[in-house]
Structure formats: structure tokens, C-alpha cells
Symmetry: C2
Subunit: 381 residues, 2 copies
């Protein structure tokens, strides 16, 4: 099996970027990734881009558009979509395209422009990631779906609203030093609990925001890395993806995501490591309850103990969870998030540590991708 690594990362500021269009965001991230890799655009052999919904901007066919605007034509350009896991699904397919031997250097990007749609438009667009016939058309929103999950977790395991609130408190604190983050101010548990209820038990500050942003990564084969004399590549050690029912009523349990469990098992197995080896984890806290589920399903603690884990600021003996701010504070431009997580892990692993993990969820757990990256120390032995 070919060895493949991340050799460049780039992203835009995340936030309400009124002066930038979807294509502006995508191109800015892509060019930054190319500059970071210190290669020329003509080295790139294919472009994969994660983007969740044309409903936000009325622009589909984004991969060809971005390839054109970034001067990458005539390379193959592919948009991948799996709701909020679109970015990491694009990453996985970029990775597979190199593994196939057809390409050596490939860009995997993600972009979403969510603030160009008015009124309830963004909520409706997001609900297209759920089961519209069974959930959306009868009035459920994603806050509603995750509220059902949160309530059940509280019932089964005694998880508290304060623990949920702490997810957001921790992530806001972690984002203070993140120059790309949408929110860089501390909040308190009291702030979260006194913010408006969106869907009981979830308050406004339990919810990740509507965000514009893009992120991009350059992936390369070991042969290309040697040829280009790339320094400090961050290796892709494992990638797992799994699917689960879209509709919540079809799940065996509301308090675990089988897609996360199966994707993680695949990724750990491929990387030949286990949960206890992971030092940095970027997990999908679209709503606070989802960080708790992720911590449990990824094996960082026992099922039901996620709330207590969060009380330790998302840090156990080894792993630091969402140390750059998570979706809550960095923002969640849905198609870009999976790539942003991997950009963050790459920046961390270039400086310190051996193993990082990203968990990116689509819908209410219907898609999950788990990716494990390793620094140069990870392959020394």
C-alpha cells in the first residue's frame, strides 16, 4: 500500500464573510494550501471538494468552478457530498485516488457559503442532510434531532445540562488563540444556560453557528514527497468511513453513533494504534451533545462517561479534544469542516505529538469519517 501524506494546508478565516463569495473562499483556501506546500499549481493532478448543498448559493458543479478559478484545468474535479461530512469524504476519495496509483498529488478541499440565504433558508438547507420524508417535512430540525439524542443521554447516563454547557465553554476557551475562529471570546456555563432554548435541552450556545469558510489540503504519495523534497509531511495512517440510517427512528440506540464506532475501528486498525495512543482529537461538536458522544464512541472513555470527561476540559491522560476550538467556536461551514479539522491536526503535528484523529459526522450520525494522522515521530518507530 502506498504511503500518503499531507504536504500543505490552507484555510480562510471562518465567520460571516459578507464580502466573499463561495468561489472566493474556495480559491483563497486552495492557494494558501499550494503556497504552504511550496509547490506549483501545475503539480496538482486532481481536485476533490466537499460542499454540502447547492441550496445555500444556487451553485452546484463547484469542483469544476474551483478548478477553473484556481487555474487548475484540465484536471479531474470532483465534488463529494455527505452532508456535514462532505469535507472528509472528499479527503478520503482524494486519498483513494492516490492509493489507486492514478494520481500522485491531489488537492482535497471543502467550502460552504451559508450566510447568503435569508430567513429560515439555512435551516431548511441543513435539514436536507436528514431524512426529509420522515423527519424534515414533519418539522424536525437538526437542533431537534440532537435534542432528542441529548435528552436520551441524560436519561440513560445522568449527563447534565452543565456538562453539555461545558463543551461549549471549553471550546470557546480553546479558540482564543485560533486566528481563524469565528468566536474568540470566553463564555461561562451560566452564559450557555441562560441563552435561549433552541430545542430543549439544547440552548443557543450548545449549537455551532452558521458560518462561511473554506479549507484545503494537498495530499501526496511518498514518491512525490521524495521528488519534491517536502519537509515534515504529516502521514495519513488510517481512514475509515461508515454509514447508518438517516432517520433516528431506525437506529438501535440514540446514545451511540454506530457509524463513528465502525469508522474508528477501521481507522485504528489501518493505523495499527488504539484510542489510548491519540494525543489530539478534532471531533464533530455540531451540538454540544455530539462531542460527548464522540468522546465515548471513539473510545476515549467508557460509554456514558463523556460528560465527566468534559468536566476535565476535554483532556484525559493523553488526548486533548478540540484543542483549537471545535465547530462551536471555530464555526461550522458544513462542507469545509472535515478539511478544517485535518488542517488543524496537521499544524499541531508539525510542531508536537505523534498521533492525531479527526471525526467528522454527516447528519445525525448517518455518515462518519474517522481519519488518523501521524507526525514524523509516528513513523520513526
Amino acid at each position: 500500500m502506498r504511503k500518503i501524506a499531507i504536504i500543505g494546508v490552507g484555510q480562510t478565516k471562518f465567520g460571516e464573510e459578507w464580502t466573499k463569495s463561495l468561489r472566493d473562499l474556495a480559491i483563497e483556501a486552495g492557494i494558501k494550501a499550494i503556497e504552504d506546500a511550496k509547490i506549483e499549481g501545475k503539480e496538482i493532478e486532481a481536485l476533490y471538494i466537499g460542499n454540502m448543498s447547492g441550496i445555500f448559493t444556487s451553485q452546484e458543479h463547484l469542483a469544476a468552478l474551483a478548478a477553473d478559478m484556481a487555474g487548475l484545468n484540465p484536471i479531474p474535479s470532483i465534488r463529494c457530498e455527505a452532508a456535514c461530512a462532505s469535507g472528509s469524504v472528499a479527503f478520503r476519495n482524494a486519498y483513494l485516488s492516490i492509493l489507486s496509483g492514478q494520481h500522485d498529488i491531489v488537492m482535497a478541499a471543502g467550502a460552504e457559503k451559508m450566510t447568503d440565504i435569508v430567513d429560515a433558508g439555512a435551516l431548511n438547507a441543513l435539514m436536507s442532510a436528514g431524512d426529509q420524508e420522515w423527519e424534515g417535512f414533519v418539522g424536525l430540525t437538526f437542533a431537534g434531532l440532537y435534542a432528542l439524542i441529548a435528552r436520551r443521554h441524560m436519561h440513560e447516563f445522568g449527563t447534565t445540562q452543565e456538562q453539555l454547557a461545558l463543551v461549549s465553554v471549553n471550546n470557546h476557551k480553546n479558540a482564543l488563540k485560533n486566528e481563524y475562529a469565528q468566536f474568540r471570546q470566553e463564555i461561562t456555563v451560566e452564559d450557555v444556560l441562560s441563552s435561549p432554548i433552541i430545542s430543549d435541552p439544547l440552548h443557543l450556545l450548545d449549537c455551532s453557528p452558521i458560518t462561511d469558510g473554506a479549507a484545503a489540503i494537498i495530499l501526496a504519495s511518498e514518491e512525490a514527497i521524495k521528488r519534491l523534497k517536502i519537509e515534515n509531511p504529516i502521514w495519513v495512517l488510517g481512514v475509515g468511513q461508515a454509514s447508518a440510517p438517516l432517520a433516528l427512528h431506525d437506529r438501535k440506540s440514540l446514545t451511540r453513533f454506530d457509524s463513528t464506532i465502525i469508522a474508528a475501528r477501521k481507522a485504528y486498525s489501518q493505523a495499527k494504534i488504539s484510542a489510548k495512543d491519540i494525543e489530539y482529537a478534532e471531533v464533530h461538536d455540531c451540538f454540544s451533545i455530539n462531542e460527548i458522544l464522540a468522546i465515548e464512541d471513539l473510545g476515549f472513555c467508557e460509554k456514558g462517561e463523556g460528560g465527566k470527561f468534559v468536566e476535565k476540559n476535554g483532556i484525559n491522560e493523553v488526548v486533548k479534544v478540540n484543542s483549537t476550538g471545535g465547530l462551536k467556536a471555530i464555526g461550522h461551514p458544513v462542507g469545509a469542516t472535515g478539511i478544517r479539522q485535518l488542517c488543524d491536526l496537521t499544524r499541531i503535528l508539525r510542531e508536537k505529538g505523534k498521533y492525531g484523529l479527526a471525526q467528522n459526522v454527516g447528519g445525525s450520525g448517518s455518515t462518519c469519517v474517522v481519519t488518523i494522522l501521524g507526525s514524523k515521530d509516528s513513523i520513526k518507530g
Copy 2:
């Protein structure tokens, strides 16, 4: 490089399928493909699905939905989008995923439900495949874009409206025996020329219709084919994909699609054959002019001679173009078309001939995928 073949195909009837939802269509096609391959669903290791736009149905995340509804969980499920080339982009990535060694048996499907949207909704959804900022928002439609191309082709090469009309006449005739086709009645050149002008010089009957439909293919590695004792696999001999500017004003020429030329070169090179070896070609006649461009850009005749080629009923010494009816008569459920073309070629090559080619275009030529299939005779020598 692993050898990979198509071992099963399935599709729905194409048309205005009022009683079937997007998921109904996708599942029907998928189950037919599994039955055709004579395998069990549990053998399938990943699902790729081409689907152009959530604007049509408000349902994104279709791959996970289809995996769930078809009982394929928890396999990785990926939606690919490249406008009307979404189906063949899904196919190419399914193919790459097997080539990567990560999977052995993968389903590539395509589905679109276009008639659930009212008024100009379908036109607006389709225009999301073009450059919205430069083309869509100022009023251009795809009929308008292809009309500009047609007018320029007439100007440069003397192509006539009668030749354009003959594309539709031929394809309607070819669809008479196609049980899946939306339109199974003969039309005349006079019918085309007396139908309403949509965008001069294109008449209503120069345009492919709005269609509901789905198609699915099972791909397998040579090892899996031997293990499962599959009879008469149809081999994937070459797949090329290329991108070009979305906006027409950025092209060097209006009368050729560089994406087709580059994708075809890659596919011919990989298959180690040339245009003169192709016996059956399914090309992308979304508008009549596009069949003429395809015939030229794929090398079946010289540039500018496509109109004369069509006068011979789309048949030269060797190749039969759109012998099952083309997009015009079969219908064009945009995300499904690329897969439908490959289903048709597979059915043909199981019976007769050595080499078939499919050309699937996204937008006004911004994406093109060219796939070459070969029958058992193609590998005998």
C-alpha cells in the same frame, strides 16, 4: 493495475414517475443491479451515487439514505456531483476505490427526481450547473448556452438546422425498442423544425427532457469475479475525466469541448485503442448540437463534419452513436445519465461487439468523463 469489470446493471423506467420518490427510484435501480449480478447485497463494500442537485427535492445526503434504504449499511456511501456528469464521476470514483485495493465490489449508481419541483424550478436547478455569477444570474439558461454553441457551429462549419433536427429524429427512432425510454415514438425533421423555438436555433425537440430515473452498476475486481464465478463481465478498459471553464466566455473555442478531447485521449490511451475501434458510443445529447460536438471531439469524424455524420443516422463504417436512444429519447435524469449510458453499453457488449464508449458531459462542457468498456472478445486478443 487491477482489472475491473461491470458485473451487474439495473435501471428504472425513465420518465415522469409521479408515484415514485427519489429514494424509490434509487433503490429500484440498485436492487435490479444486484439481482442482475446474481450476488447478495452484503457483498457490496461501498456505494457511490451520482446526483446533481438537492434543489430538485430538498434531499441531500442521498448516498447514506440509499445505503440505508437498500440495506447496505454500514458501508461507506459517497455522493458525487459534477452536474450532468455526476453519474460517471460516481462511476470513476467507484472504479478508483477498487483500483486502490480498499474495495473489491462496489456499487456505482445515479438518480435524479426532477419533476417534483414546480414552475421554473427545474430550469433554475439545472442552471446551478453553470456559472451562476457570470451566466445564471443574468438570465442565461442551458438551452441558451447550447444555442450559442449551435449558432457558432453553424457559422463556422455550415451545420444546418436540419442536421441538428436529425440528431433527435435518429435518437427517437433508436429508442423505439428501448423499454426504459421516456419517448418511444418516431418524429420527423419537420416535427422538430415546427416545434416551438426554445432558444434560437434550438427548438423544443432539440432538447432532452426533464426526467425522473435511476440506474446502477456493480463493479468488481478480477479476483472477486473469479471468486464469485461471474459470467460475461464487461471490462472497464479506460476512464478519463477532465475539467474546463464553467463560463462559456472563458473558453478558447465554442465549437469544441476540450474536456471531451482530453478525457477521450486519456481513456483511449488507457484502453490502448483509438476512436476507430469503437463500435457503440453513448454520447451526451442533452441538446442536439452536443451530439454533433461529441462525435467530432471523440474522433469519430473530423471537426466540422458532425452534421454530415448525423445524416448517416449516426453510423459510420464502425461506430453506432446513441443506438439506444440518447438523452433526447431515453430521457435525462441528470445524475443518472452517466450510469444509464454504461448500463446500455454493458447490455449491448454482453451480446455483441468488442468496444463501447460513453461520453458524459457536465454543464456546457465544464466536466467530461469518457469511459471505454470491452466485452469478453476485447480481452481475447
